[in-house]
């Protein structure tokens, strides 16, 4: 139920995002979802790609600081209150969301939210118990 996400440290200076996407493009890596967190000095680019291991390797080779984290991709029903139901269930079990970002699934048209939890396994158990649909890594990578 876990999805591999790669995170890249980016100094706040021009051209860094262009450089990263160029390296990934040249390595034939496809980006599925992304989010950029930023502060005044630096940013963290988080990506779900079709080949995380390869992306990690090519970026490291170019001198970037990269790490891989496990996140959870949850399908959100396309109706008012869809996301709220998920967050309420997590809140009841006292699970914290470190960060989250959303994208829209290509085939089903549902929104998918990528969550980073403080306790990933506990979160998965909660979401399972409430019958929320989580996407397998492979489905996401090969979307």
């Amino acid at each position: 139920m876990k999805v591999e996400q790669i995170s890249i440290f980016i100094e706040n200076k021009s051209g860094r995002l262009a450089e990263i996407t160029r390296i990934l493009g040249e390595a034939g890596i496809n980006i599925r979802a992304l989010s950029l967190a930023d502060t005044s000095d630096f940013g963290i680019l988080r990506l779900i790609v079709n080949d995380g291991v390869k992306a990690n390797a090519v970026l490291k080779e170019k001198g970037f600081t990269v790490n891989m984290t496990e996140v959870v991709a949850v399908e959100v029903p396309d109706r008012p209150g869809g996301l709220s139901a998920i967050l309420q269930a997590l809140d009841r079990d006292a699970i914290n969301v470190e960060y989250m970002y959303a994208f829209v699934e290509r085939c089903g048209g549902n929104a998918v939210i990528i969550f980073r939890f403080d306790e990933t396994d506990k979160a998965i158990a909660t979401l399972n118990a409430q019958n929320f649909n989580m996407l397998e890594g492979n489905r996401l990578y090969n979307m």
Binding site: I10, F42, I44, T65, N67, E98, R116
Partner: protein
């Protein structure tokens, strides 16, 4: 182990008798041969003959780097040019270089003192000495080279730069002793790691590092990454070059300064007054055997302290503490004295921080600002902003706690801080102070 046991273990009284005799003859010689010293002694109202004991040395005026610049290039030479067999010069980052000349005897003395230094560091005949100090006008390369030959070791005169080749040669030639700047040794370790070469498998046993100030924490880092014993060596071209003082491998606690050739003093850099044993101040050295360019009470600008306590190695020569900076490297930030080496010590104590950093000093309005750039290594990196921000705050807090100066820590991408294959540049001062 000693190279010259008799002189290295000379009882204090005998050593001081040698010093006085050599000092007196040096003073006579510079007074007679160097117009600068004649003028300087005359204007202080002193004749060399008034020096009857070592304590009289403090009556003499200092020699400064500016005096050497004013005498550029050969004005302070005490031997005629046809006796000078070698000329070296400092890098001259702030104007004209300072020039030094050596007679044949000076080269021989230097070789011996450098050979003594190698032995003190635990090297011996049969070692393969990988000399990565730069060869050229800089004294590092040739100084260590002649010492290694005098010792009877095999010296590889590889000089600085071309790091990949350095590592290949170290591996293939079976180098056992490495000589270079401490920052370059860490750069080598980084390159070796990238090349997939394991320092644990190399034959290196001892590293002799100098030419820039470094910290005890950095020693730990080097010893661990390069799998060797790291020894601190001190020297400066004005006085001789490398091998003026060195740590003994037995104690690794303070650097023995070869007192049968140099007389050290510690002064208050502001007032010039002599400080008591153990107090930190500027190192002043008088050369007492040099012929080419003897210097009387030369202000080194290096900050250290001096101890005459007996050492477990058996050497009777005084020890100077690890250099904690240079009086002219000292940054004054909002009135607080800060040495880059102190900041380095704080950084290296934080787990996971690489000892590559850059200090940027600026002035906004009337306020000085200090920015400490730190590279984000894989160990430190997190996908969560709050973790990285906590790291920045920790760096800021520890520097504030240890040094009393407020700074801004800025995380930068790995390997973006300039690496040096010689002396590392750690400070950019953008203040326009005039």
């Amino acid at each position: 182990m000693f190279f010259n046991e008799e002189f290295e273990t000379l009882p204090r009284q005998a050593l001081e008798a040698v010093q006085l005799k050599r000092l007196q003859s040096t003073l006579e010689r510079v007074y007679a041969n160097v117009p600068f010293y004649k003028a300087s002694f005359d204007s202080a109202g002193i004749k060399p003959s008034v020096v009857n004991c070592l304590a009289d040395l403090q009556k003499l005026p200092f020699t400064t780097k500016q005096d050497m610049r004013d005498s550029y290039p050969y004005g302070l030479f005490a031997a005629p040019m046809d006796e000078i067999v070698r000329i070296h010069a400092s890098s001259g980052t702030t104007g004209k270089p300072t020039v030094v000349g050596y007679t044949q005897k000076d080269i021989s003395t230097w070789s011996e003192l450098m050979a003594r230094s190698f032995v003190a560091a635990g090297a011996h005949k049969g070692d393969i000495i990988h000399n990565a100090y730069g060869y050229g006008l800089f004294t590092g390369g040739l100084g260590a080279h002649y010492g290694a030959e005098r010792l009877g070791a095999s010296v590889i005169p590889i000089s600085g730069g071309n790091t990949k080749r350095q590592i290949m040669i170290m591996q293939d030639f079976g180098s056992t002793v490495l000589t270079c700047t401490p920052s370059y040794s860490l750069f080598m370790a980084e390159e070796a790691q990238a090349e997939g070469i394991d320092f644990q498998k190399l034959k290196l046993r001892v590293g002799i590092f100098g030419a820039e100030p470094w910290s005890e924490e950095m020693r730990g880092e080097i010893e661990q990454k390069l799998n060797l014993t790291a020894i601190d060596i001190y020297g400066l071209s004005e006085i001789m070059g490398p091998g003026v003082a060195i740590e003994c491998i037995e104690a690794k606690s303070g650097l023995h300064i070869w007192e049968d050739h140099f007389i050290p003093e510690i002064i208050n850099p502001e007032t010039g007054e002599l400080l008591p044993e153990g107090e930190r101040g500027e190192l002043v050295i008088t050369t007492i055997t040099k012929q080419g360019i003897p210097l009387i009470r030369y202000r080194t600008r290096d900050i250290t302290s001096l101890t005459y306590e007996p050492c477990i190695c058996g050497r009777t020569h005084a020890r100077i503490a690890r250099m904690s900076g240079r009086s002219d490297d000292m940054l004054i930030i909002r009135g607080v004295n800060v040495f880059p080496s102190q900041i380095e010590a704080v950084l290296v104590s934080i787990e996971g921080i690489e000892p590559h950093y850059m200090l940027i000093v600026d002035r906004q309005g009337t306020m000085d600002t200090l920015t400490v750039q730190v590279e984000v290594s894989e160990h430190l990196f997190s996908d969560e902003i709050k973790v990285l921000q906590a790291l920045s705050r920790r760096v800021e807090k520890e520097i504030k706690d240890m040094l009393g100066v407020t700074c801004t820590a800025k995380l930068v991408e790995p390997k973006t801080i300039q690496r040096s294959e010689g002396k590392a540049k750690r400070v950019t001062d953008n203040r326009k102070l005039s």
